[in-house]
């Protein structure tokens, strides 16, 4: 393993991709990209969906072969026919969803396909020593004999990393590793990444979350339209710079921050408590207001939104909608009084994947189980209008939503609630897992809704987003609202301080 050499650019690089072109049929995905990883470096790779970052990495770990361009590993030009060949050369990919055999032990999973043998017999003693070695190297307290199904999501990733280290991989490519992890599990992963840095392992970190990038990376490359839009040191990579590089335009066009004079109180919440989730929540949302809910994962903000909507257990306390007392008894009753919820996990709660865009868009509209004939023509007009308004990109309205990109799917979730005269909209992570282009569209819609007098509560784990689109931000910590901040005057630092309990 060579010594870390962070001084020279290019020279001393472990892996160097240069002039990479990749075409799919007539569509260029990569148009001459240079990218390198040095020993002991974490190189973050950012970009919108379709910018080419995944394609580039697939070229690096042998999943795709480039149309043209050079791949140099340790100063030697190489071509990989398969991910297996790349792995043998020391380049390993840690995928987003880690494929483990749930019924097999951790030892077998780490050494899958390469268990040490003694004649025909598996040498279990040596296998276990090897597995324990790499787990120790990662400071992971995982029982090597336990079946993989008992692992938590972050531990699954540890096992995937262990699998790569077991074959002495020197380059690890992480594909959005934190997207399925809680904040706590993500910080465990970051700890491991730091250790690997010290061992001289070079890493590529693909992510859509800017916080992650600041947390671990040394350099940041931003891609756009199959080209490198910019390379910069991580400490210069602030949210605004990165976002502007990703979208290729200025931020003023990004958050469509508008000024609306707040009207009547639409949603008033007092002493709302759900034991074990949140306590004594009180706030008020007026017409045209956007109120943010910030806080770490597990602080109770999602439960708060869901219980106001009546999605789970009814909370104790008092809720008033447009001045009238209201007890949520279920989503149907909430919709009746004008409270809608844009749900968080679109695959689980938001969309019926095999059904068409049209069916999903009209689902709330046609929620009542009536046997009267539907107004097909009117429904079609509504769908067409909403698809135009939200710029939902689909070949036609009858395409199953599962065929759309994440951003377009999220717009469909939002579209379900538009044009129904909802007074209050509760939005749970309205832009999770969508690229910045789609984010900009969603912010624009939220702003338009505020202008039309809807009161909104937006729960988000992305603080810059809350600062950009909200009027006020409520910060939750361990089930309590600990601060109410004016979005214009507060800062990300202050929000984080309250969210982590550092300020009180």
């Amino acid at each position: 393993m060579s010594e870390p050499d962070a001084t020279a650019h290019g020279r001393g690089a472990l892996l160097e991709l240069s002039g990479i072109h990749k075409r799919f049929g007539s569509t260029p995905a990569l148009r001459g990209v240079d990218f390198g990883v040095r020993p002991g470096e974490v190189h973050a790779l950012l970009g919108q969906n379709g910018s080419g970052k995944s394609t580039l990495m697939k070229v690096a770990y042998g999943e795709l072969s480039p149309t043209s361009g050079r791949l140099v590993l340790d100063g030697v030009e190489r071509t990989f026919a398969s991910p297996q060949a790349a792995l043998d050369a020391g380049i390993a990919a840690v995928p987003q969803e880690v494929p483990l055999v749930d019924s097999l032990s951790i030892v077998e999973n780490i050494l899958l396909g390469r268990l040490p043998t003694h004649g025909l017999r598996v040498d279990w003693g040596r296998a276990k020593r090897r597995a324990v070695d790499v787990l120790t190297m990662l400071n992971a307290e995982i029982d090597p004999d336990a079946p993989a199904r008992r692992l938590r999501p972050s531990e699954r990733q540890v096992v995937a990393i262990a699998r790569a280290l077991a074959v002495d991989a020197r380059i690890l490519i992480f594909d959005e590793p934190t997207s399925s992890l809680t904040a706590e599990h993500a910080s465990t992963l970051f700890g491991i990444i730091r250790q690997l840095k010290e061992r001289g392992v070079g890493m590529v970190f693909i992510s859509q979350r800017l916080q992650d990038v600041h947390e671990v990376s040394d350099r940041v490359t931003v891609m756009r339209d199959g080209l490198v839009a910019g390379i910069l040191p991580a400490d210069e990579a602030d949210h605004d710079t990165i976002t502007e590089l990703m979208i290729g335009r200025s931020l003023n066009e990004y958050f469509h921050k508008r000024e609306v004079e707040p009207g009547e109180p639409l949603l008033e919440v007092e002493a709302l408590t759900l034991p074990g989730s949140f306590e004594d929540a009180a706030f008020r949302v007026r017409a045209g207001e956007v109120v943010g809910l910030a806080g770490l994962v597990g602080c109770g903000r999602v439960d708060l939104l869901r219980s106001i909507y009546g999605a789970d257990h009814p909370p104790q306390g008092r809720i008033r909608v447009s001045g009238r007392d209201y007890r949520p008894r279920g989503p149907a009753s909430s919709v009746r009084v004008g409270v809608g919820m844009v749900t968080g996990d679109r695959k689980v709660e938001g969309l019926v994947m095999p059904l068409s865009v049209h069916e999903n868009v009209c689902m709330v509209r046609n929620r009542r189980l009536s046997l009267r004939p539907l107004h097909h023509a009117a429904d079609r007009r509504v769908t067409r209008r909403l698809m135009q308004r939200l710029h939902i990109q689909a070949p036609h309205a009858d395409v199953p939503v599962q065929r759309l990109s994440g951003g377009n799917q999220q717009k469909v979730v939002l579209a379900k609630w538009l044009g129904l005269d909802m007074k209050v909209l509760l939005l749970d992570e309205p832009t999770r897992g969508v690229d910045v282009g789609a984010k900009a569209e969603i912010y624009r819609i939220i702003s338009e809704l505020a202008e039309s007098g809807v009161g909104m509560v937006v729960s988000s784990s992305e603080n810059p987003e809350l600062l950009g689109i909200c009027d006020r931000i409520l910060v939750m910590f361990r089930g309590r609202i600990v601060a109410e901040l004016d979005a214009k005057e507060t800062s990300e630092r202050e929000v984080v301080a309250f969210a982590t309990g550092a300020a009180a």
Binding site: V352, P354, L369, A397
Partner: protein, 347 residues
Amino acid sequence: MSGADEVQRDDMLPDASGSPPAAGWSRGLRRGGGWIYARVRVYAGALSALVILGAYLTATQPFFLTRANIYNILSGNADLMLISIGLTFVVLSAGFDLSVGAMAAAAGLAVYEVFQAGLPSGIAVFVALSLGALVGGGVNGVLIGKFKLSFFVVTLGMMSLVSGAVDVITNGETETIGNTGFFYSIGNGSVLGVPAPIWISLAALVIAALVLNHTAFGRAVYAVGGNPEAARLAGIDVTLVLILVYAIAGLGAALAGVVDASRLASAAPSSGSSLTLTAAAAVLLGGTSFFGGIGGVAGTLVGVLLISVLQNGLGLMGVSAFWQGVVTGSVLIAAVALDRLQTRKGT
């Protein structure tokens, strides 16, 4: 099955837009509107198999395409059609009802018992149909929809319970029903020269198609089958949808039982036993996904016709009845395998 191949190939072409360029007739269909294409696609394979089989039988069996034979096929399989239509609702909601065959037998018995009590045939039919809807919705549907029990366990138990009860009451013997006017005509009458069971199937089919495609309840069945949580959070009463689909399955089964009892002038305890699985095969062949949310009764019609014509054709060709199960099973597995390949490309 060249049609199926066509659909398949066009789905395999990779295209980032998610809209693969189509080839041949399927491109024409797509141009004709995504709506038609999306709907026909799921049973295009079964439909082309039916057309080819029909053409083959027409060419080789002179008796096949005669009015008498066609009426015989449609009328003799009205019970299968009615059960399959009801079952389609349940399968669309991502469930299944194993008790439909037993319920058909129970409905026949109910008719017999009401006759024994000296009541008129109109009441007998009403009692039988209500019983089916009540047991299906009130017991199966409530246990599955409200108490969240597994549909497999509930309907398996109900199948055993109902067919056991029928055996207890009849002592395992076939009861002969004295056929009278109205009841006789359900299975044996004809209107405009077409046998009544065909009219009944046709009416059930049209009503089911209208309900599924043109009412909010029908669309809710699809939503619940595709993602019950998303449906619930959109304000749809998921419990009620599930109760209603099992009620519809029970109703369809009871109607099938009544038609059979009339046609055969008897109530046989074992009459429905093979119907459940044949109906499952028909629904599946018709492209309705067992994962819920995809399919419809148009496909079920194609599935029922394919199985019926297949059995009729084998009979006409003098193939032993024992072979019919083998052929039906092979066609079913082939169709599902094709469907699997198709959906995998689609996602």
